[in-house]
């Protein structure tokens, strides 16, 4: 187990190092997040819809679109010079490889979410900091399962035609349950209700994460057979 995690960490570190050196995906994700927030602000009538009513949807739509950008990146880099074959030949288990990729993706999405929330507070004046701890928990729970499925699918779609288009088509149905739950909890939190009132949603998110993290870990070896 320790070995497994150590190898996963090595993979994740490699990916993140690559990303921090080039910063292409990260920079575009930040700009994209900012743009989506700006578009949302101008796509509503502020006299008709109060910000607080729209805020949870704006936040989660932004997060999910930005996450999608990062996911395509995960295995794209491994295509060059057949780097994936190298990884598969190295004495690292497939599970470690998957967890490493998943970890790197989660860090990527978390960074985008941090910047997204800061911009969101700045642009929309929603006091997120009053509920920062439960909000952090919801973000984490809603992101993990969805990114696990996304990481698995991105390993497949990079080797198909129309890779960039394929990922959203496959992934959006999987986004629905965590998105609905995250928005529902965020509505409650922003309205000043305690987290304990959203017990059903939290259980749903936890169940989703558990089911899909284990399922994707099991299925990943089938996607990298060659």
């Amino acid at each position: 187990m320790r070995e497994l995690l150590r190898h996963a960490w090595l993979i994740a570190r490699k990916d993140l190092q690559l990303e921090f050196r080039s910063r292409t995906a990260l920079a575009s994700a930040f700009v994209f997040t900012a743009l989506v927030l700006v578009i949302f602000e101008h796509g509503r009538d502020p006299t008709a819809v109060p910000t607080i009513d729209l805020a949870p949807s704006i936040l989660w739509v932004t997060f999910s679109f930005a996450a999608m950008l990062g996911l395509n990146r995960a295995f794209q880099a491994e295509l060059e010079n057949q780097a994936l074959d190298g990884l598969l030949l190295s004495p690292i288990s497939r599970t470690s490889l998957f967890w490493g990729k998943l970890g790197a993706n989660l860090v990527f999405v978390a960074l985008v979410q941090v910047v997204g929330v800061l911009l969101f507070i700045l642009f929309f004046n929603v006091p997120v900091w009053r509920v920062w701890l439960p909000f952090l928990l919801v973000c984490a729970l809603a992101t993990v399962g969805f990114i696990a499925v996304g990481t698995l699918f991105s390993a497949m779609v990079v080797r198909t035609r129309f890779a960039e288009l394929m990922l959203p088509v496959l992934l959006l149905p999987f986004l629905l349950p965590p998105l609905i739950a995250a928005v529902a909890i965020t509505v409650q939190l922003f309205a000043g209700r305690p987290l304990s009132e959203s017990g059903g949603w939290l259980r749903l998110l936890a169940g989703y994460d558990l089911a899909f993290v284990s399922l994707t870990t099991l299925l990943f070896p089938a996607t990298v057979t060659e």
């Binding site: 080797r159 394929m166 999987f174 349950p177 529902a184 949603w201 749903l204 169940g207 899909f212 996607t223």
Partner: protein, 218 residues
């Protein structure tokens, strides 16, 4: 007789039986008190939904077995089942709004079951788009199996999440803890229709499977 021919005969038989179901539904089954004749679409809508769910269930099952046994026939069956499932999904998604308009006063509502079936439709589409985008047959079979299994696991979560959210769809009337709350004539018509739609599924899948046997199946 080849598989395709047998499939065709089963389909023809099932279509004739379907016509029989409608004779029975229109002539010999009572008109529902509050919904009137609009309720007659129920004998088409619910069994189509059943066949679509059956298709997805069998796609998932065939996918699991494929990853274990690596038998190309399972992959071919999953492809056939997904394609047929898409057709049944279309039937369900067209008959549903036709019924909902006079009864609910709206074509569509974001209810648990409606959202679930729409997502099922998207899953089928995504599954087939993916199959079309991979050229290597072995890779395609593996990828499709992975999506098939994930899709099967996803459906209960979608249902649960939308169910927690809101629901307007009529509650289950046959498969529920207490006895079915349909009058016996309606129940018999519905059950017969379930049988016919299952037969249609078998007939369609046999033909589609036979088409894929050439090896150029996508």
């Amino acid at each position: 007789m080849t598989l395709a021919q047998r499939g065709r005969w089963i389909t023809i038989g099932a279509l004739m039986l379907l016509a029989g179901i409608y004779v029975r539904a229109l002539r010999f089954t009572p008109v529902e008190l509050t919904q009137g004749p609009a309720q007659k679409i129920f004998y088409l809508h619910v069994p189509a939904a059943w066949s679509a769910m059956l298709s997805m269930g069998l796609v998932g099952l065939a996918s699991i077995l494929f990853l274990i046994m690596k038998d190309a026939r399972l992959d071919r069956f999953a492809a056939a089942s997904a394609e047929v499932g898409t057709v049944f999904c279309c039937v369900m998604l067209t008959t549903g709004p036709l019924w909902a308009r006079p009864i609910w006063g709206t074509w569509w509502t974001w209810d648990a079951r409606l959202t679930l079936t729409l997502m099922l439709f998207f899953l089928f589409i995504g599954y087939q788009v993916l199959r079309g985008a991979v050229t290597d047959p072995r890779l395609r079979a593996n990828y499709a199996a992975v999506v098939g299994i994930c899709g099967l696991i996803l459906l209960p979560f979608i249902h649960l999440s939308v169910y927690l959210f809101r629901t307007l769809h009529p509650m289950p009337i046959v498969l529920k803890p207490s006895a079915p709350s349909l009058p016996p004539e309606m129940l018999v018509t519905l059950l017969l229709s379930f049988g016919v739609f299952t037969l249609l599924y078998v007939g369609f899948v046999m033909q589609r499977y036979a088409l894929g046997e050439g090896g150029s199946d996508a």
